[in-house]
Subunit: 404 residues, 2 copies
Amino acid sequence: MNACDPVPPWALASRTALMRPSAVRDILKLTQHGGVLSLAGGLPAPEGFPIEALQRASQRLWRHRARSALQYGPSDGVPALREWVADRCGRQGWVVSPEQVLITSGSQQGLDLVGRVLIEPGEPVLLEQPTYLGALQSFAPWAPQAQPWSADAHGPLPTALQPGQRLAYLVPNYQNPTGRCLGTERRKALVAAARASGVPLIEDDPYGGLWYDTPPPPPMASIDPDAVVHLGSWSKVLAPGLRLGWLICPPRQVDSLGRLLVRAREGADLHSSSLSQHLVLQLLEDGFDLDAHLEQVRARYRAQRDAMDAALKRHLPAGWHWTRPEGGMFFWVQGPAGCDTAACLPAAIDAGVAFVPGAAFQVPGTDAVEVGRCMRLSFVTLAPIELDEAVRRLASVLRRAHGG
Amino acid sequence: MNACDPVPPWALASRTALMRPSAVRDILKLTQHGGVLSLAGGLPAPEGFPIEALQRASQRLWRHRARSALQYGPSDGVPALREWVADRCGRQGWVVSPEQVLITSGSQQGLDLVGRVLIEPGEPVLLEQPTYLGALQSFAPWAPQAQPWSADAHGPLPTALQPGQRLAYLVPNYQNPTGRCLGTERRKALVAAARASGVPLIEDDPYGGLWYDTPPPPPMASIDPDAVVHLGSWSKVLAPGLRLGWLICPPRQVDSLGRLLVRAREGADLHSSSLSQHLVLQLLEDGFDLDAHLEQVRARYRAQRDAMDAALKRHLPAGWHWTRPEGGMFFWVQGPAGCDTAACLPAAIDAGVAFVPGAAFQVPGTDAVEVGRCMRLSFVTLAPIELDEAVRRLASVLRRAHGG
């Protein structure tokens, strides 16, 4: 044997068989070439990034805190940033101490850490059907038995929470992919059921600031902080490239679960970029008005949402249905019985439009018929006139495939 | 039951029992208060950060690539940065294509990803004794059976590589904690044994640029790229707060192992900070002379190493031994037979000096007697005059505890 022979394939961990590729990212790769109008990704509109304010904050950062921004830092995050998160929660009447806050690299990493410390291989976790596909990816290496969460018109059912489930995961505000927002009564019932069953409720809330009609009800963690792990993110309200989010640990579990989460974080990647953390901190200390910024982002997205709604009404054939979302980034559009949106995707890309088929969001091992006739359309990346053209292209493909 | 009652403790994943706290980070917390001179951490000297060059690069970044620096990016990293890493490997005569390169959040995350795709619970992995404690933390959640790698005076033995081991992990250049650098012949023998046994060799090389006498031999991955996963880092040569490193996948496994690593990355945290990646890229595109910068860093650390060596000679009692390291950041100091450096640590901190006891680096489940009589002393954080005072304090504690 010499160094020119191929090496026999290395043995892979059996968990790799559970690690599915991300349909969204595969589609994104296809759409980077040529004139495809993408309704697939959840990329925030870059026009909404507060570039000038960040540039000014950056200038001050290099003068006043360069060494901290370049040095190793604590695994739970820069203390002043943890304080800011705790204070911000307090504005909603939800008392959070900085010790409960763990700064993460996006809420995606929060899901990985939660999976690390709570999921036991082969034991059940409860997931909405359909659910955020990034959560499926984050949880997969920890090898849970995924159970679809039964639901009614008001959202996931409290009665589905049962002792023995390692966690129950949901996106209460403007869910990805359905856009659904949970009402106050259902939130209260879910939190009570979580407490009664002893199942940790994982509340993933990247979209709470993106409401277009009225603000969403209070977070479930504010109803009963001891029953919920809450995940938040700067990705949608500031910029995703910073890779910053946060995790709020129940107050009575800071010394147990909280310590384990920080220990898990040390092994994963030590800590989030000090540069990103200090840049956001400098921005906030400079008096950046996040609420005014968010109002601008909402105004932009509200117009895009309305343009998408109008385009769907204008172009889609009969038999396709949707509910205009009250916030977030996505329309969830349902086709006629028996249709399979995944089968339409290649023709759509040929026609110059991309979307994510509903099947990408189904809980593994479940039947995709209901979810498979749906598709997720993002309205935050394209301008209104592009949204109209994208939906026009999409409609012509659907008409050819399914009539109408 | 109401919301004021404590929630019963949540069931934790059994893997959490394997997740040990980091002794180094616990010690760092103790030493943040008061006048403790710390030889414990591996914090690079902030005087060595190229702050002015980064500040200039940052100004250009905000003008020319702000949107990319704030937006979501590819999970395998910004393409131009992957090209730079591949080119840099090529300068050593090691042909690497950008497709082999995965940008990670420090080489620490490279270890987490490698563990994710290669380690099977309960199956053996081979680790140097003593080994980098961050690797112990990264691998722990994947629940391997850790085997100590038998060694002779030239380093870990090639004969220890045996079919069935899921991976063999080592730091060839200026190992953490021992400072040992592997010779060319041992590297070749290890690579040949890895190829013959089919065991993936994980070559972790954060310190290769930090040589003080002569450059280290070529990386093992350059000897047989198909037998080795190579990990590199910007933490020691530029700044750790950026949280940037890289992983080099064997060329023939880009479409198998490489894809799985990227998929693992998506689930972990999507990608590294776009801001950090574009800042480093802007710095490099602006013509920053990394080699000249490294020469300055080396000159600083060389002086600190020599100061530490002199201080050890000046102050340590008889019976304590060390080898002056040819690179890296650490002295590994061995005490008399039967001594236990962990037992000395509280008295040392009381005396105003901190170090990491050898036991922190032992392979779990092995006997700590040999490793436990050692301690790791970092020389890169303190100035030469502080190093002398720190060692003087340390010596007085050791003298009281062990005589001499």
